[in-house]
């Protein structure tokens, strides 16, 4: 059975990830010149819209489309298409992010052309070297993005679990999670997980090799130099191809649809039930308890996000590739495999003492978040070179109060806000992950997300909608307020530039 489920999941991942590649490449190209893509992100609404699905909780997506899936229960194809479509939005966003931030290959187009010029010289192994150059050069970022998409599809759990009314969509993670929840012994669950782990490793290893062999890391190149070196993923393979107007419009429509499907509709459809839901929640008298539950979850996730970011920064600064791969690998294997392995590890006699504590959950969440934290650190390092921040720091030493205030505001804007944003994004991802907390949480602690996940299976009530919105709004409010307080503390007095 597992064989069939795995094959089905892999086939879906293959199709969705392959379909997403041309779309993400097109969006990447539409975003403008190579070096300014990220820096001028806010001036590219298409790019921002395409990235939105990456930040929408899977749980909310699954919850929104659960009723649709129920209506499609008699059509396997329709259910699979619905799930595949939702995945496509998410995978496109991920691939786009990878294409935007991946450091360029050391093998430039000029290097390949230089090799092409030697073609007539009858050099042995010319074709082999040429292919190697192509794979490690311009196609490298595309291949890594494609593998990333495959992994995301393969590891997706929450949306599939909520869409699955009967047996479709068929997803190995849901199948394994259900089997484990139904009382399958851990050793059996682990043996099932081992096969999926092998598949994931088979995907990860080439990606790591591609990044390691074909990559180079440049953090503080001047923007112009970055453009020459193709820092921002270089030019993807399709980048130089002339793009028809019709194609551009088609991609814009696709992105618009993706935005509606993953953001506008989930928000709009739940807003209508919000007021009634809050009234019921207050009337039932459970509001304070729920807020406390959200608060504890938030606290846990903030702690984990902070730790993951600190480790990510440390890894980035050390720039030791073996250590980086070793630390990031557990998280890259997906939350289910990771949590099952940790569960088994904490059942060993030596670790059994801390089995029912916060440690397994915190460790699992941190390990799972680490690849994402590392990615964010990389993005932040590229976005604001250390030299820009140091310029502001130097300005702080002036005797002029006005300049000191300006310098403080600059440092706040260039450094603090971005790290706060990074912690916010990581907290958001951690907060909405069901798998790790479901498997590794201590008995006495019930995170809000597991409660939501369980209740979402039993229908769509106004109370549930209100609780979901509360879970989205409270963390958001906390971060906005934290940011404001931090700004007041860090930038006292009047400043000229806002």
């Amino acid at each position: 059975m597992l064989q069939l489920v795995l094959t089905w999941t892999i086939s879906r991942a293959l199709i969705v990830s392959s379909l997403a590649v041309p779309i993400s490449l097109m969006v990447c190209r539409m975003a403008g010149t190579r070096s300014t893509r990220i820096r001028t992100l806010r001036r590219h609404p298409v790019l921002l819209a395409a990235l939105v699905p990456l930040f929408m909780p899977d749980l909310l997506t699954g919850f929104t489309y659960r009723l649709t899936s129920a209506r499609l229960i008699h059509s396997v194809v329709a259910t699979e298409l619905l799930y595949g479509g939702l995945l496509l939005c998410r995978v496109t966003a991920l691939q786009l992010a990878v294409l935007l931030i991946l450091p360029s290959s050391a093998i430039s187009r000029q290097s390949i052309h230089s090799w092409k010029l030697l073609r007539t010289s009858g050099r042995p192994n010319w074709y082999r070297t040429w292919l190697r150059m192509l794979v490690l050069g311009p196609y490298r970022s595309v291949l890594v993005a494609w593998i990333g998409g495959m992994l995301l599809c393969f590891q997706e759990f929450e949306t599939a679990a909520l869409l699955q009314i009967d047996r479709h969509p068929v997803v190995w993670a849901v199948w394994l999670f259900d089997a484990h929840a139904a009382g399958e012994p851990l050793s059996v669950s682990l043996s099932f997980a081992a096969r999926s782990l092998l598949f994931q490793l088979a995907l990860l290893l080439p990606a790591i090799l591609l990044l390691r062999v074909g990559g180079r890391r440049q953090v503080s190149l001047p923007p112009g130099a970055a453009a020459d070196a193709g820092l921002f993923a270089g030019r993807p393979a399709l980048d130089s191809a002339s793009t028809g107007r019709g194609m551009v419009w088609a991609v814009r429509w696709l992105i618009l649809c993706s935005l509606v499907v993953t953001f506008v509709w989930p928000v709009a459809s739940n807003l209508t039930a919000l007021a009634g839901g809050f009234r019921t929640l207050v009337a039932q008298g459970g509001l304070v308890a729920r807020i406390r539950q959200i608060g504890f979850s938030l606290l846990d996730c903030m702690l984990v996000a902070g730790a993951a970011l600190a480790i990510g920064r440390w890894l980035w600064r050390r720039s030791d590739s073996f250590l980086t791969v070793a630390v990031l690998l557990p998280g890259l294997c997906g939350s289910l495999v990771l949590s099952l392995i940790l569960l088994a590890a904490f059942q060993l006699p030596v670790l059994n003492r801390v089995y029912d504590s916060w440690l397994p959950m915190l460790l699992g969440q941190t390990l799972w978040l680490l690849p994402r934290a590392f990615l964010l650190v990389a993005v932040l390092s590229v976005l604001t070179p250390q030299t820009s921040i140091h310029g502001a720091i130097l300005l702080r030493a002036t005797g002029s109060r006005l300049l000191v205030a300006t310098a403080r505001q600059l440092v706040f804007r260039l450094r603090n806000v971005r790290w706060l944003l990074a912690v916010g994004i990581l907290t958001h991802w951690c907060f909405w992950d069901v798998t790790i907390v479901s498997v590794l949480r201590p008995v006495r602690f019930e995170p809000i997300v597991t409660r939501l996940y369980n209740e979402m299976h039993f229908g769509r009530t106004e109370t549930l909608v209100a609780l979901t919105c509360l879970s989205l709004l409270i963390p958001l409010t906390v971060f906005v307020v934290t940011g404001m307080i931090w700004k007041v503390v860090a930038v006292p007095g009047n400043v000229r530039h806002d």
């Binding site: 820009s388 130097l394 030493a397 300049l403 000229r496």
Partner: protein, 369 residues
Amino acid sequence: MTDPLWTMTGVSLYGDSSHRLNDVSLQIVGSVTAVVGYSGAGKTSLLNLLAGMERPDAGTIAFHRPTMSSLPLFWVPQDGGLWPHFTVRQHLEAVVDPRRQRDIPWDQIFRDDGVEAATAEYEPEPEPEPKPGDGRPRPSMANRAEAAASEPDFDSGDLIDNLLSQFDLYHRQHAFPGTLSRGEQSRLSVARCLAASPGVMLMDEPLAHVDPMRSPRYWGVIRRFLQRTDVCLAFSTHEPDVAIRESQNVICLDQGRVMFHGLTSELYWKPPSADAGAFLGPLNWFDADARAQWMPCDSNDRPGPAFRPEQLQIDPVEKGDLQVLSFHFCGSYAETQLKHVPSSAQRTLVHRPSGRTLKPGQFVRIKTC
């Protein structure tokens, strides 16, 4: 100004595979200091340490804070270090301290002293008229600065206008760094540093991306600023002519080690070794034996062993020991490969061009001048 700015003692900075700086001990004094060296020699690492952006893995660095400015230090990093959310104009507005600017004779700094005349044939890119609503007409170069500086209420807006004009950035004043060319970014970074008017300026390969025809004009602004203020400058470059033209002191780095530290003129005329001397451009090295062999008829008493191209002349003769193997004209100097016929020894000389081409096989003699 001979007061020390930085005292470095046994400073090392480790890299991935080798030392970026290895046991560097030196004292950097005021005035203008150039840091020269080949790519990867450690110039940027040294400046990053001086700027305090990096900390040494071993050794100590003491910065003797100058007192003339409220801002002790500001810099021009290699990548410009611009602030992505600020426009060109805002970069300057953010650093200008009117109290400090009042003491600086900007009118004299902006008044050209002839450098522009030398490059007058070059037409800079046209600056479009300001858009309606910009609020400021395009300023003429020096007259507005003169007026601004002489007014009792110092208007930093005028200073910014003039700085932008001096660095050909006025028409780009509302642009963001992400949309600027590399040259424009370099110029903005330098203009920002001048606007900040710190006690010490650190510049890591400033104006490296600026076209060579306009670069001297911008250097002229920096030079006049340094001449008319008590601001010190330390900058890195791998252009020997810039180091010679702009600096009084020079630090030569090679593979993270200091090869030479002293006066630029000393390195130029009396380098301790051929390798060190080469940092400031081509030179010939004749020790006593070589001089006796290659310049036996030279009546000048010019001390060696280093001879710059302008100190050597090669004259054709009817018959002699030296024969031309090849000749290459390089503009301000020529490169000639000679053969010492009796010993069959060969060497290449850089010398001042005589105006005529030396032909292979021709007999010549070397003369110092």
